[in-house]
Symmetry: D4
Subunit: 254 residues, 8 copies
């Protein structure tokens, strides 16, 4: 078979442009490709919603790749073990209740599962602002290529419309801060001291709609609530992503 | 259940240190976590060999994440379609013979498959040099944390021993250059002009042992051979990774 | 009238994607948006050819914006005065034979004329390599977003096909160097000392096909030929762009 | 004809110095070379006023070159279509009411029109401060070469005198901030959330004299007024530039 | 004797991992390897406590290496002369009461003494946060490799547990600021003007427990207390380190 | 008296533009404002020639300001003491034959003397190239603002004409390298080991015309000749500058 | 005569160390080597006081070297013409009352005069803090090599004692800010809009003792007083330096 | 006792200046403060020679602080165990023949021992060049503050005289390269592949006088000889330092 470079280029351009155009309107935009965001996107997609995960970096996975202090392992407690199993991530029990998995396996299998479920990934895309119109809800995002910002260039963004936004941007809680900075009734309290046990137990409660149309999950949920800082354990992250998916799906169904 | 931060830290430290110590000696060290390297590592591990993939970046996947020009799609020709299927990567036929997959799905499923097969991933690790003793073979690698170099610090490396090294570092052919720079009988010709069809058809032939103990695959194979530059199509990469796995396995078995 | 953000985004995306897909194959790719490149593209387009001008920067115009030493004026000699007039650029005669124009006017009117004539501009696009197949001709370019390189990211390029390439990249002669570096029979001699008069008089002769499928114009022509460096006078640039357009048009017609 | 380098240098130096000296006093100084600023300068010059446009970058055009997300297209709504036509910028109707133009054509033709009308462009010039004397009006600007600041050098500026200043510096509203920082009764509220429709409809109202001698237009007008953020649509920009020109001309005539 | 690279690597990895695992729980964590911190760690270790000194830089010694203005000498007053003698640091009397030592000797002998006494040094480790649980005490530290931060990477930290923390981070008072930023009843007043005599005489009084579980010593003590800035004299530093060691030992014994 | 900002600006602009225009043609262009260059320019001007000193930095004086290792003193041997006296620079004899002066006084008085004598200083100007025409002589310089290069901007230079060029750019011998790089019969051997005595005694001999129209002085003379490196003593520098002035004056007179 | 490198080194080291030791105690420390600081130091030294001028850069002269917008000319009004004459700086009258001088000549002759008068210059020295003891007066400065800070090194400073400090650090008013930041009753109001005439007429009044032991002159005086910004005219600077010298001399005499 | 800041400053300045002046002439200059250099300096000083160790960094110890891959341990083989003991560095036997020590203890005790023996340390000093006069021997060094280079400043160096220079600058072999670059008959072959055993056994033989007056030790010895790269084991370093000390002492005694 003869290979034609232009056909290859056209194949990439045409299929992705179709996806980009189709995803100018979606059900849920999950911002941030760390563990809670991918979990949330995977479960929303399993649930049949049209979901896009927006990540400013080239790769998906965030801080999960590096494990703890560059030792590429993660720990998950009993309560979230079923999510590791759900996504096919192998683990061994280190001490009763502490399950250890490999971080590279965890991030690749989570991502693979989200792809299989039908979530679309938009990497190298940065969120510059939110759309809030007369109804006072977050109803869209202002997005741009992240290399444009990295290169210090002045290029205008485009806009996408969505029914729900999930802020899964970690302790920076980037989207929540964007909303708060423009005068919304939304206070971001910031993380407290580290206290893993408390932080893990509370994170699911803090996973909620913090502004009309905007849900928070993962470390962003604790940062908004002023909860304690989380330890190097991922159970709460996965459960928070699961919780956000359930809440958003329920809201969109109603 | 009460969570204890120190137990979490110990779980990470203890399990990964066991892995690190165990992998100071291995069968095959694959250097570079792009598509050909992951494929090679996955198939070697499926073949029962003790294989470690060494990647200097935080994430695995290399240039595959970004598709072509940040449009996250990849194209694979007919001849390599079976490898997409082998790794469970969905694809659609754009024109006869041209299969398009999503790049995020491709990289996460390749990596997931390698994990399942038992390959170990060592991310954030840089190769500083090779070990060559009296027998004139590459028999080990000199490694360090890559952030040490990024931070401009002066810290000594450690050494690992292996029976085979696969240079899957892309068109830089980093390991081959290290070997050549110190006087070995190994010429790196560098890539030629782009000519996708020719490059794709030749890459499998160029995948070979270029110095005792050192195999090249993927773009590194073409760079060493002075072959044409490859187009934005990944079939040859996957086939080259497969070929390297077969050659190395045969060599180690003999 | 109600404005819809998503319609605006779709309008931009859809119309430009159509252009990008259409221009994966073109007659002439002019690389470099300085005075000789724009002139060449404008005249080729006036001539009815399908021409794309590729510029790595955000703006078109190159060094012309700054005039001489940031005094935004350019000088054109008698022989090229008709080209200023052709593009509607006002000028005044400083001394007999020396016509002074404003650099901002010159660059904007040149560009405007090229647009009117139907040339397409692709800014923020970098050329990474050339395509040369079995016939030994430059028959395409390997392109990428330039911010990808500025941001230090590893993202693969795409390929376009063209019948002719014009290297209008200034004294760097970037495309000619790419061709030469890979072993072609093409020597880039580099500019000599400054000698404006000689450089101006010779540039049109040096504007020629230097490798099958590759023409040079502007300072790139003098750099390849080892000609003297040009003074701060633009007549030769414009004439060289005009000459390149004529040569390429003739070649493609034959 | 013999070309003499020194005559060329003298031609540039002498003609531009005459312009610089002449423009130490002018009617209107428009600061910022984006779409609203160029429109304003063009229309003021058509109106017979002595106007200088000051831009800190090398090229004129600002964020307009990059279109939306590097897709070089702009959209203009029905109400501003006549300004595209006025400046000779070709457009096509994408959906009823949405006109798409090429960004490179738009910026070059706007600039060309302003040149033809007699506006002077001062690129690579930064504004460091404003002159306000006993009458409490902005009556001049303190200017410097922008490369001096880019290079981190300590070089003193010069001063120009003008009857009116237009702040067209985009959402940074640089000149308004300079005035406000020194204690003036001028509050810059900052942009709100994105809401293109509302922002477009209000921008013309926000285009006004915000401090004696200082008018705002374009995004700077909305930023000062605390209006919603504008979408990737340029109609409001052009209309705001037109409005600023009308207001300033009226004020200077009275 | 034959040397085996892998045995060497294993020796380093195994012995240090044992130390790292053992020191996930310790009596006292001294943060900052300047003169007061090393003194404190040395004396605590001499006192039989399990003490770890955490330093973010590669080398231990902080600003002491450079003496005053790169003249590598330090001055110590009479009252602290006995500590120089205790650590075997040679000195000469310049004028009555002013003892001059070499800075390289001072820092190496202080460090050597701390090693001999049994203090463990953890260099290239950064403290990211503190652990405070329900009892409201600082009971642990959140630590990471410092090159991870220098390289701008996103990698999660690990946690260690300790009975006491000594903030010896100099005038930045890093740990005290971490505690204060999260809402604790702890005010860091910042240093006053330089007044060596007063600062030297007060520093021992300011060396105290400023928050449950957190002691300050050295310049951090004066910075928290709002005391005058210290001169280029090290007696107060050494005495403050000694005082902190005594206070912590007493507290842990009780 | 009322002060008018525009009159001040016009005074600066008008007087300096007159100077710039006048100095587009001069007798001697001395490049580099270190001790040998200033001496040469001062003596040429005393001799009645029209001389311009071109310096890329903001200030004149080069490495002389910092003395030796930031101790702002310079040493001059007996043979050059008369030049210190000539320029009114105070000195004291340290040991017989070694005269010590203050570096700030030396550089300011040298420069002041050159001003008084009528030399013109062009600071912040970089030389980009030389003019060599059919007669094979250096007959001009291609110059630009140095901040343009510091800021990484692309702006074209202007050209000046001169009868002689003196390369006083120190051990970089910048102008000589420019000439040599373009194929001239001029070898720059580079400095040898340090041997102050020999270097001092030979520098005057090495001060000569190295290419038609191009003289070297100061460290550039020794660098071209492959002479030993000079010690921290300035006598040879001053004498070389004096010698260059004499040679150039003689050549231009003939 | 034989030259000995070590004698040269010793000459520099010994004479400057004597100066440094001698100047650990002085009458007046002038901080900042711009026009007002040099004038002040020159006149204080002419007055017989022991004065040191401390400048963080390598060269003396500050922003004066660059004239206005890199056109190296300065303007001085009638009232300060006598100071130009006093220092031997040539000037020409541009319009009645406006005297133009060359900036290179002005800075070199001012500096030369200060040297002749006996002022000592300490370049490459940064002020890190002030000494204020029980009497509440500024009685010393904490100084360091400025390259230490530029290189990001942690090296301790030394202390000098003085009877008076003059803050001549320009509009940053660095020393005044240091004093104010630590709680002193000293408000720095910051410059107002530019209004050259007013600023020039008031600067002499604002030149005063702003805190016990601390005088301000030049732009620092206007910045502390909240006065209007000065135009590109230097008369006020010189007069302010003269005034500061008179006030300080009177205070120290009393 | 009252503390006086100026006395403190004077104490530092006066004692160190005496040392600096005294060490303008010395017996041996050891360049590089890594393990072999410190060992060499310590043993030379124990031998009664006047030795100065020059290190460009702020701290002494080089790469030894970081152990292997930031695990702060070093390994020493049996043959060099006696040197650990000689310097009082504790070690434990990991496997027969492999002794493990803590890297912080090793570097601090080595340095402390060198101080006790009387070696002088000159940190923050860079070597810029060597002195070679008519006898063709290295007889001095050209030195400067290293922050001057780090800050990109142009400041002249000073010169010291010595009877012998030891290049202990590691695999860069900086001093040997300086000598070779200027045409000496000295070839630096560069390190070979890693082969710890061979490198360790040969290093002592390669420790020798490679040019009149210049000895190499440590990794510099192997780099000059083209020997294999050393593993993360320090015995050979210490023995090489010992060997260099013996050779130099013998040479200077003869």
């Amino acid at each position: 078979m003869e290979l034609d470079e232009v056909t290859i280029s056209r194949a990439i351009l045409a299929t992705q442009m179709e996806t980009m155009t189709e995803y100018l309107e979606l059900d849920v935009a999950v911002v941030g490709g760390g563990p809670s965001g991918i979990t949330c996107a995977a479960l929303l997609a399993e649930n049949g919603l049209k979901v896009g995960l927006i990540e400013k970096k080239l790769s998906i996975g965030g801080g999960m790749w590096g494990g703890g202090m560059m030792f590429p392992r993660i720990v998950v407690q009993d309560g979230a073990k079923r999510l590791l199993d759900h996504f096919g991530i192998a683990s061994t029990e280190f001490e009763p209740g502490y399950h250890v998995a490999k971080s590279v396996e965890a991030v690749s299998k989570l991502t693979a599962a989200a792809c299989t479920a039908g979530a679309e990934f938009f990497n190298l895309i940065a969120v510059e602002d939110v759309v809030v119109k007369g109804d006072g809800r977050v109803s869209g995002l202002v997005v741009n290529w992240s290399p444009v910002e990295m290169a210090g260039l002045h290029v205008d963004p485009l806009t996408i419309r969505c029914r729900a936004v999930v802020d899964a941007t970690g302790h920076d809680a980037t989207i929540s801060h964007m909303v708060a900075r423009k005068g919304a009734d939304l206070t971001i309290k910031g993380e407290g001291y580290m206290w893993a046990e408390r932080a893990e137990s509370r994170i699911v409660d803090h996973t909620r709609e913090v502004f009309p149309g905007l849900w928070v999950c993962g470390m962003a949920a604790n940062a908004v609530a002023g909860e304690c800082r989380m330890g190097p354990i991922f159970g709460g992250m996965l459960l928070s992503g699961e919780r956000a998916a359930a809440l958003v799906a329920a809201a969109l169904r109603s």
